[in-house]
Symmetry: D5
Subunit: 169 residues, 10 copies
């Protein structure tokens, strides 16, 4: 059953998919293999010795696997790792940033709303605690944890980023 | 020394301040009193029995003090609490969201960059761990902690929000 | 205690209030009187024989009171109704639409998210049930009701708008 | 008769269709099958034991069918349900939000105009009736009903969403 | 002579055509047939018993032909009308609104400039003549006439729309 | 009763009025005098020997009164015409274009929707009837007429603009 | 050597070309033929008896060749002129306006910067010299000349447009 | 007669003037003096030995008068030149660029339309005549001339800018 | 001579100055004092033992003076340093980012054009030389030097920023 | 293993790559050949006698190779140089400017942040050192150097551009 040429079909429904439209072919390959194996990011992360958020980021082309990680990934996902190193290897560099902005998906919009509502308060507390500088989003580790709660489980999302003071010269 | 009428002065420098330009007068009053007392959000938060990020949010008009909290705030900041209840009391409701967007200040931009780069990965992990739903930004608690580190202290920013599954009907 | 000249104060906090910044002086007068009387929209609506959402809309300059309604409003709010008819009377017309868009306040954003997520599905059902046309937002009545629920009270928001079929010519 | 290669034809008319351009192939498949069967959302909803708005939302990729629902859907639409579970099954997650914004189609624009004109009034009434919080658009049920009226039938659109109070911490 | 694969040709000239890029395949089919027949909208409109502006709107997917009109259209344009009813028949609904905005084409921009320059004056006169309400763009008929003039022929563009008073409730 | 300093009042309601915020002081003077006299644009237009839409446009600073018209206007509105010629006289030139765009007021938005939905069809008919060129919005006369109709009165809005063919060189 | 399927190649480099992405196939055909012949716009313009800027505009689909000009063009470029008249003949109309805006290419940005910096001054001088009206961009001829200069050759760009006074009515 | 406090008046008409809102006080002083003297840019330009477009640009703060020019300007306009040198003298630098963009005023929009429609053709001709580089908008002289024509006078607008070839390194 | 109330003057010229409109009062005070003393950033920088670019940044509120630097600044500019420490002292934090974007002033636009044209090439070279990471704009020193050149002096602008590799976790 | 038709695959992952989506086919060819050879920009630059930043810019279509350089490039990359001269030769001109703006990739965003934060200070210093004019981005050479540093290597990015004084006329 071919579902690709729906564009000329009865009801005018096209086939492109904006939400992931910034994802490269080789990354799409990873998503397909993951779906075929029915394996979670958690399991893949275990096999790589990395956190699941970082692994998901790398799947979306937002982080860079080492050659060794690509090799392990090939094993976990049953992909010839030569294909991976050819497309995502040492000469490939992430182009970070996945739209649309403002996000339209409610999961991602809530993060954005966090910036809108709590951005200035967080800035104020960072300055009071650390002085004039920023929390790095480059030297930063991000985790998503599940905290059971009888009134409804909670998502605990943590950003652990290095404080960088402003240079003076 | 009056610094308010600089607009007609020699060099054409105006006086308005966009970064805080969405803050109401009564909130400005709080910031002034805080500065006059030279007191940190941490100390004010202790006096109110609340977290410093929440208190900073309320200072920016992004959260709502109870009448009891306004009374304590008046004591801590030496403001007649009648003034506070008159302006920020039971009939006042926050209008949340403080621009500009995209943020131009690097501290706030880094949070926004977190959404740009890690928004899709975080969404993917939330779905894998919790199913179809979102992390609430309404029933959500936010903390900023300082984690000493010999290579440079780290900012640990935590969002602890209830998972809300999508309704079906 | 004057809180108006905070602009030149210690901490650079200005005083304007963007969320309501499209509201005219005469409408501001209504909000002030309402706050001074400590009266709800529900009570004002009862006195006028109108729905509270419509009354709130008129307070925000998004609907037009009749001269008779302005007279009753003056009584309810202790305002000389001549002042009201002079500013909001027969020669005044609403300029509808209150920004910012996309809304930054989470209450209003959720309505906007309803358009983003359910706009196309609602359009599809309207066409299936009514044919080619629209739900009028001009001949439309809007209600907000509270539905008690042991798992948390629910907001029931209803738009009751005339179906308008497209003209052909 | 092939209508797909019109791009190179006499008059320069291309073939892509922005209004649905965020719809994935598998969802397009559903629309095609629905058109082929000539069946309404109402009938499909009955077969699934769901509301027609929710079903339309799921057709547009804005909600997630359960595996059981995909099975029933396959029966109703004469699609091999394996195709559906492969593409829209447990590993697929909606990317919600369908542009363009502001909407250009008048049906959807009227909903958006409802936010523009009545957003602040609705917010005011929600706060007066419920306090500081929001109407959830996640735990929310939406209906479209037809109300016969001699002066012209009316569309009754209802949002029934849980009230979520703001956390304090 | 194939002009479709010009993308890989010597000079880097692509082939897509944004001005019409929101037009569906089936509508493109109409434009092609019209060009092949060398027939004007005026003639097609006569055959259908409709105005030429409405017919042009329907060609652009901005209005909906009845099944009877599609049948006549098939005759006029030598298209198998089954093809038309399959693609533009009872289950197809227009997605109205054709970009870009602001319009870049001078013909369309001038209409837009009319809104920019004369929007407020027209609103003022409508309110003075009709009260608080709008001119419907749904129950509206639009004509383009040619008025000969020795100093240069004139375009007479008429919008004849029903006045809709605002509901009160 | 002073309604100007509401900014520091109880409820945080500011006083500026974006819809007219592009209107110059001298034009505001005209609006005030018109309201004080309780006179319609129709009457003013009669006194000036001009159409009411043009007069309303000139009130909004979108057209330029001649010195003679300013003199008559002073008489009609009881304004010292020296004041008018000083501010709106021979050295004053209109800066045309009144935001916001897209318009948020439904009256003006409907005109804008006319461009969105019917812009391309109107362009197509203009080209078929006149060739390659535009309808001038400079040499253009605009009228608003009321057409009584038992099913609801109709607004007849007419643009009568010179056709301008494109130069070739 | 095929360079079209680079999308799936090693380095993730796509192939579309936004700068010209609004150009239709038939216009692309002209650019290809021009490149193949190695002929300048100046020479083509001579053959057609037109200015080179106008010819370049017509190549970009921003002006309309007459049937006679298409015939000559076919001769100059060795294209079967039937192909040209079929695609760019009497039923084809330019859709003018070529993005992106603001322009990113420095050559075009400098023109845009001319509007940003000198727009108001030019408007002031036009009003002083001509009164209330505009310089037509429809009845306008544009030339690019090279003026040798020992300190560096100069580009002389001339717009020669008819002054159009505003209508009054 | 005071026309400044119209904001609190009957009809809600504010007084700020966006079109010139980027003009500094000292420049406003020049415009006022010019109006008071009833003198044209042409005359002022003669007195300064400069072109009228350049002088108008300097009035709008888009160019920088020398101290000698400020002295002459003081004489021509009867302003104490010390005031001018204090505000526009050696320590003042233009901040160029006057909004809004896209321009809403038709005079300025037509220049912008020139970029939209003829930007790519002009770029093509510049490259053919000069190679890879730009026409400078910094080392550029602009003139507006009136060319009498029986069919309607013409505006001749000339940009005479140095060609700058791209550096290679 | 008062130049502040020009808003109500003859020609409608307002007085606000967007280019610096994000500068706080206390920073405006610095600019005024600098102009009054007729002292360059270079001289001020020498007195503070800092680079002139950094000092200019701090004048614009884009960097934070230490208390010691504010004391020296008071001496250099003849300002009571208590005023400075009160407004720009330890409790004041920069809100960085000065619009408009895209910049309209040609000096700043050229920097922006550098990002547009050379952003991807610079990224490519940074990755080749340093790996996956960024050049910090926080730990970054910026200099502007003048390099005499017989063909025209050159501006040498240097960014010296720490390379920050991406964290993995 | 074909990775191109992933669009119809299990998980809805498309294949286009926005970050480079403005790159022409012929430039993509260069990137592919470079990756196949595993050669750095530094090495290619050496072979061409150019700087690596300039070469990277030319790869991205942001600069123009001479015919001689294309010949050398063909040798270095093992491409038939006829292919290169056919596509990137004398009749090809760069269309400069590579989006998106604001940049989402952190490497490029930091450059943009440099404009946001230091744009006005850099402008101020340029004016103080050079007078009224700009640093050319056309006659400008850009270098990226690596400066070893025990606390972390540093990126030294230099713009060396000719100062261009504003013309007066």
């Amino acid at each position: 059953m071919d579902i690709t040429d729906t564009k000329s079909a009865h009801n005018p429904i096209p086939t492109n998919l904006s939400p992931y439209s910034d994802i490269a072919s080789a990354n799409a390959l990873l998503f397909q293999a993951k779906a075929r194996k029915g394996i979670s990011f958690e399991k893949i992360a275990e096999a790589l010795g990395r956190d699941e958020v970082w692994v998901a980021a790398a799947f979306y082309g937002q982080a860079k696997f080492s050659v060794e990680e690509l090799r392990k990934l090939g094993q976990v996902l049953d992909i010839n790792s030569l294909v991976l190193t050819e497309h995502l290897g040492k000469d490939w560099w992430p182009n970070r940033g996945l739209g649309p902005i403002p996000p339209t998906d409610p999961v991602i919009y809530r993060l954005y709303e966090g910036v809108l509502v709590y951005g200035h308060p967080i800035k104020a507390i960072i300055h009071e605690k650390f002085g004039d500088g920023i929390m790095s989003m480059i030297d930063c580790k991000i985790n998503v944890d599940k905290k059971p709660d009888p009134k409804g489980d909670r998502v605990v999302l943590t950003f652990d980023g290095k404080f960088l003071p402003y240079a003076q010269w």
